[in-house]
């Protein structure tokens, strides 16, 4: 079993900011695990501008923003970056097991920072009834298919939910020459940034239905159409308000969930409704020396705040280590 001062799980903006900050606060033995082939996390697929306005006072794209942190991280030899390294098991005493091609490692860190980000809420979590054809995508997956793989998921899309990812994808589909038939939002207002509603939906004249929900998905092999119904203040269907929209693609953008299965496994108290760790103070958990930062701590709207708060996690880990000595 390898001993380490600090292990950080997740090489997105949160994990990188925490690593750099821990180093700057005196930690000299850091292992950063990232399951992907690159650092950068979700930013790699966010090729639109709008990042860094607060943190760098500049308007950057996602990959540009990530790149600043990647350069910094890679320039510090004391941060040992291990890519394609997937943390699979975490114990109460912080013993961590990870897997990479050709290797299974068990490490025993003195302190640990989890920065595993979020996953998307799915169609299944909001229980949209109907059939289960192809063409129903979490919006982030559709973003990856277009921006990273160069594939067009569909030609006539409806977007469920007006979260930022959904709004951004509405514009992306249009720019790719596909049609966006509607954005359907069950609440009376958007959860996304106002600027995204204007720039990604309103400016293109895409219909946005507030107070409506998708009540059925139809299609045997591929999505053929959806059914929409208006809802009242209690989210009950308004009879007679149903209508159908023909489409071949449904993008689901109904929020993110912190990925905290590992800390839950270790016995950290996790809030059932938000999946965030129960926490008295920013980045802290019920296990001393086990910190969580970035989107796995809570869902942030913008990456600038992720970086700012993750710097604090790095410092907390450094202070915890000093306290051990």
């Amino acid at each position: 079993m390898v001993e380490r001062d600090l292990v950080i799980v997740g090489g997105g903006p949160a994990g990188m900011a925490a690593a750099v900050s821990a180093y700057e606060n005196g930690v000299k033995d850091i292992l950063l695990l990232e399951r992907d082939q690159h650092l950068g996390g979700i930013l790699n697929q966010c090729i639109h501008p709008g990042f860094g306005i607060d943190y760098f006072n500049e308007i950057l794209t996602g990959p540009e923003y990530a790149d600043r942190f990647i350069k910094k991280t890679e320039s510090i030899p004391q941060i040992d970056v291990s890519l394609q390294s997937f943390a699979v098991h975490l114990e109460n005493d912080k013993t961590l097991t990870y897997i990479k091609p050709g290797k299974l490692e068990i490490v025993r860190p003195k302190t640990i920072i989890m920065a595993t980000g979020c996953r998307e809420r799915t169609r299944e979590m909001i229980h949209i009834p109907g059939t289960r054809p192809s063409g129903v995508f979490p919006a982030g997956l559709a973003q990856k298919l277009i921006n990273i793989e160069g594939l067009l998921p569909g030609k006539d899309a409806v977007i469920v939910g007006s979260g930022d990812i959904g709004l951004i994808m509405a514009r992306r589909f249009l720019l790719e020459g596909a049609r966006v038939k509607a954005v359907i939002e069950i609440q009376k207002e958007t959860r996304g940034l106002k600027r995204n509603v204007v720039q990604c939906v309103e400016d293109f004249g895409t219909p946005l239905y507030y107070g409506h929900k998708v009540s059925d998905i139809y299609g045997k092999d591929r999505v053929e159409k959806i059914r929409v119904v208006k809802v009242d203040e209690n989210f009950a269907d308004v009879p007679g308000s149903e209508f159908e929209i023909e489409c071949d693609t449904v993008l689901i953008s109904v929020g993110l969930i912190p990925e905290n299965e590992l800390i839950e496994m270790a016995g950290v108290a996790v809030d059932k409704s938000t999946n965030s760790p129960v926490s008295e103070e920013l980045n802290k958990t019920s296990i001393p020396g086990l910190f969580v930062c970035g989107n796995s701590y809570k869902v942030y709207d913008i990456v600038d705040s992720v970086s700012r708060d993750s710097v604090i996690a790095g410092r907390l880990a450094a202070e915890y280590l000093k306290g051990l000595k």
Partner: protein
Amino acid sequence: MIKYDVLIIGGGVTGAAIARELSQYKLTVGLLEKEEELAFGVSKSNSGIIHPGTQNPPDSLKGRLCVEGNRLVREICKELGVHFKEVGELIVAFNDEETSRLLKLKEEGELLGVPDLKIVDSHWLRKNEPNLNDKAVAALYAPTAGIISPYRLVYDLAENAAKNGVEFHISAKAETIAYSPDEEHRFIVNTPKGAFNARYIINAAGLFADNVSKMVGVDDFTIHPRKGEEFLLDKKREHITKHLLFPLPTKTSKGILVIKTADGNPMIGPTAEDVDDKDDLSTSNEGLAKVLEGVKKMLPTVNENDIIAYFAGLRPASGHDFIIRHEDKVPGFVNVVGIQSPGLTSAPAIALMVLDILKNNGLPLKKKFVFHKHRRRSEHLFEDPVSRIKNLIDMDAAYGDIICRCEMVSEKEVSDAIDRGATTLDGIKFRTRAQAGRCHGGFCTTRLMKILAEKTGKPLTSVTKRGCGSEIVKKDRVDG
């Protein structure tokens, strides 16, 4: 034209079990399946329970075959490396009237030969099933109930049958059958993949078995689909129960159950509703409400936020029992139809019965010199302890390349699944569990598409969810 001694129509668990049984004998055997992969019919969407045999009338064919199937499936699982877990089931009673019905169920079960049935009291229940509603007063405990992955059973049966010489033809829908009683190979079955000539035909076409039977003029039964909606919970809730929990059965179904599945996720359901459309696999709000209502009676703490997936299956029912018979009007044609629940459990026993029918109708069965009885178990990291995972990774680095993070599925498992016949994303999912977890493929779909495209030498745009028409993406942005 390809000639077979026996041609099976339908690649679900019934057809696959028959194919494997026949593969021990000196016969040429083929199997036709209309979908792009095996197990894409009823056999993919069911509860995965190996029933003990209770809840069946004592004089029923399905009851007898279920008890025998429960016994046989264990041996088959050992031979094929399929994971079978004997978890036991509890049929729960909440009042005296229900308790007296338990006694009747016990008697009926014993008449069928179900072993080790026992009535347990509330004290036993509290100790052994702590999350069960404490209003439960007694239960019928059937320790031989078990769980299995239904599709993996089909794939492993088929793989072993293929190794022993059975030929599988997919995307090969039987469209018409010509019958010439005077020929030795009296049947000609026409499919989009060409015509097949056979001495004997076994109709195991599930929901569409009546259509197939009509092709030879036997039309005295109809298959009525009865829908069952099921809802899967997060694997984190694996230990919510220790046993399978059943209410007392109704006339048409076993009721809403709390199910344990072979892969760990608990499942709740199924509903039972007669429908007209044999392709109607939609789920509904009403179905969910019914399931939650039923389950909460037994397990008040169940939380609908733990639901990560749902699906519907159609029971291919024709009356109340299985119909397994040689059609004397059309010598050589064997119907294996109306295989509703417990068809998964009964499949190995059905296969033996079909063998007898063939023998009694003129097909000599001679054992082969060499029959490869065993199949090497497929690896699944999620069911292995750390030490075993380490050994696997040492053996093959690709076991360390994790693709599906929710279910911990490696590149090696995905490649193996494709090598063993998966051609679609659903096929990969059923074999490996990649995309079957809480994020529903949000993270791994693109990687899976690439591996599938690369290994099959096809473009990414041709990757499908479950066959032609279910392509994942519409086009390549660059090529237009």
